[in-house]
């Protein structure tokens, strides 16, 4: 309990740190921070709305510490201000709309790459040094060193433009209205296939290497030898003795991966023009829509911290030693 409480305090501190960076950054840069942040707002926002937005970001006529408290108060009440580009929508509404698409995309891709990567990692570790191991470990390492946009662009070029197998943008056929119909849903699935495949390729490498590494460390343990000595089949030892234990750290890695999900598909979404969080962030950057950009940073931080906290809780559940500490 004490352990979890301490972690909780730490995450709170980390969140405040991220919010503080958000607060001080525009004020530290040369020039007028209000000018920097809201220069693009002049044409879209009415003066009252601009005032409200300034209040959200703590631009009040008061000493710096009061500005800071005003800002923190609006953050902790969940008020992230108004979007400049998508006015009159609030940042929360803009991000909420995009969230659904990103969660669907990244959720599926994470699931696929986790399953595939873990299986490949198990087999590679079991047959370490074999051709299978060399091919898959090296390509896994290479896959982690290639930027996501390269994978996305190449996939889009070949399968979208050259072969014409998949659509080259949007989450569904633009002519269709969102509805719970077979036509709409199948269009959504059809549009999601290529981005999901691309993301899975990007993500799988990391899972292969983590799982292979965990497995190899365990394969030298006595209970593995014991399992073999009992005459169990390779398959049983591989999956029920080694992989089962090696999976624990990977599962916590999965939680972290889910934490990065929100930002995870940024580049892929931009390339495929997919209306998720990443694409929203991209357009916010192009339009210098600072309220949305900052809201995104805070939401991603929150997701990351929540995922970390879930890992901590799962450790407490899995490792009795932490319960006493």
């Amino acid at each position: 309990m004490v352990f979890l409480l301490r972690r909780l305090c730490f995450y709170l501190a980390a969140f405040i740190a991220a919010a503080t960076i958000n607060f001080f950054l525009p004020r530290l840069l040369p020039g007028d921070p209000i000018q920097i942040m809201f220069s693009s707002a002049g044409s879209t926002l009415s003066p009252e709305n601009l005032e409200a937005l300034k209040l959200t970001f703590g631009f009040v006529d008061a000493p710096l510490w009061q500005q800071y408290l005003t800002y923190l108060a609006s953050i902790f009440t969940g008020d992230l201000g108004l979007s400049i580009k998508y006015f009159p929508l609030s940042v929360n509404e803009v991000l909420g709309r995009a969230l659904v698409w990103t969660v669907g995309l990244m959720g599926t891709a994470t699931l696929i790459s986790f399953t595939l990567g873990t299986m490949l990692g198990i087999v590679a570790a079991w047959r370490r040094g074999s051709k299978f191991d060399v091919i898959f470990s090296v390509s896994a390492i290479v896959a982690t060193s290639v930027p996501a946009m390269v994978t996305s662009l190449v996939a889009l070029y070949f399968f979208g433009f050259t072969l014409g197998w998949f659509p080259t943008g949007y989450a569904a056929a633009p002519a269709l209205d969102p509805a719970f119909s077979f036509e709409y849903i199948s269009s959504v699935i059809y549009h999601a296939i290529l981005p999901i495949i691309t993301l899975s390729i990007v993500l799988t490498g990391g899972f292969v290497v983590t799982m292979r590494n965990n497995m190899i460390n365990l394969l030298g343990e006595d209970y593995i030898t014991m399992g073999r000595a009992k005459g169990l089949s390779d398959r049983t030892v591989m999956f029920w003795y080694a992989a089962r234990n090696a999976l624990l750290p990977t599962v916590s890695g999965l939680a972290i991966a889910i934490g990065t999900v929100l930002g995870g598909s940024l580049v892929t979404e931009v390339v495929f023009n997919y209306p998720g969080l990443g694409n929203t962030l991209y357009h916010a950057i192009l339009a210098r829509d600072y309220p949305v950009i900052q809201g995104q940073l805070l939401i991603m931080t929150l997701a990351m911290l929540t995922a970390n906290f879930i890992v901590d809780v799962s450790y407490v559940l899995l490792d009795p030693r932490l319960r006493r500490a």
Binding site: S137, I141, P147, L153, N214, G263, L281, L297, M300
Partner: protein, 296 residues
């Protein structure tokens, strides 16, 4: 150290990696000899496919893709190695200081490290870069260096903690060697493989992230680099109009460099830690790259 180098020269993966790296470095240095075209200027008709004059075609505004490729390698290498150096130096110093000094110093550094680790890197970079406006490659390298050292610090600290218990460190302490000397001359040499892997991982991370930031339009569009090439090709709808040479060239370059560096890293791992040949520090490598890149 000598063994490591000898071992690397006998390792196929290392040789392939070094060869790839050498090709890129030579092309970058010899760029003016390899092409007569100015990478930043209009030197031909727009969007011409590869031909005898323009080996890799031209961009939409008529720049020579080949000359942009090899001049761009200069930027990617400089940012990669520059930021990689900053990241590794800060991480290593922080890690050794925290691990060796312990106590208050350790608490402070570890708190800071953990803090930087849980705040997602990419959105932070995006916010920083968007406030700065069009960030030049130098600015990007500095931002990357300042925000990405935490992972290396954590790994180095853990390793330092175990080396600190070794007899030769105790002996040096009894001889009355000053703390900085023990850290620099006794502990650091034993961290070479970790620092090396951290360095190469950081270089890959920096190359990827620089290209990503520029691709997203946060870089200086006048700069000649692979990320800017991707950005302008994407803006020129190169894929839609079928100008594959415009967009696939920087893609290929990034894959080539990434492959070279990862092979080299794979090999350092195999040679420097025969016991870990089975892959312990590969996870570190992925951690290093993933620490920031995982959120791309």
């Amino acid at each position: 150290m000598k063994n490591v180098i000898l071992g690397l020269l006998r390792n196929k993966k290392a040789l392939t990696g070094l060869l790839i790296l050498a090709i890129i470095i030579v092309a970058a240095i010899a760029a003016p000899l390899l092409t007569g075209f100015d990478p930043a200027r209009r030197v031909g008709l727009p969007h011409q496919p590869p031909n005898a004059d323009h080996w890799l075609g031209t961009t939409r505004i008529g720049q020579d893709v080949f000359s942009r490729l090899i001049y761009g390698a200069r930027t990617s290498l400089a940012v990669g190695f520059g930021a990689g150096f900053i990241i590794t130096a800060v991480g290593t110093i922080m890690g050794i200081a925290a691990g060796y000094k312990g106590g208050k110093v350790d608490e402070a550094i570890s708190f800071l490290t953990n803090m930087v680790l849980v705040v997602p890197n990419l959105p932070l970079l995006l916010v920083l870069a968007s406030f700065i406006g069009q960030a030049s490659p130098v600015v990007i390298a500095i931002i990357l260096g300042g925000t990405s050292w935490a992972w290396g610090a954590r790994v180095t600290r853990a390793e330092t903690l175990s080396i600190k218990q070794k007899d030769f460190v105790k002996a040096a302490e009894m001889l009355g060697e000053p703390g900085w000397r023990i850290m620099a001359a006794e502990i650091f040499p034993n961290l070479v493989s970790i620092v090396g892997i951290n360095f190469i991982g950081s270089v890959v991370f920096a190359v990827i992230t620089e290209a990503t930031l520029e691709f997203l339009g946060l870089g200086d569009p006048q700069a000649v680099s692979w990320g800017v090439m991707l950005y302008s090709a994407q803006n020129a709808s190169a894929l839609q109009v079928g100008a594959w040479w415009d967009i696939l060239t920087p893609c290929f370059a990034l894959v080539f460099l990434g492959t070279g560096l990862s092979l080299l890293n794979f090999a350092i791992d195999e040679v420097a830690n025969p016991r870990l040949r089975t892959g312990n520090s590969l996870a570190r490598w992925v951690g290093r790259v993933r620490a920031g890149e995982g959120s791309l």
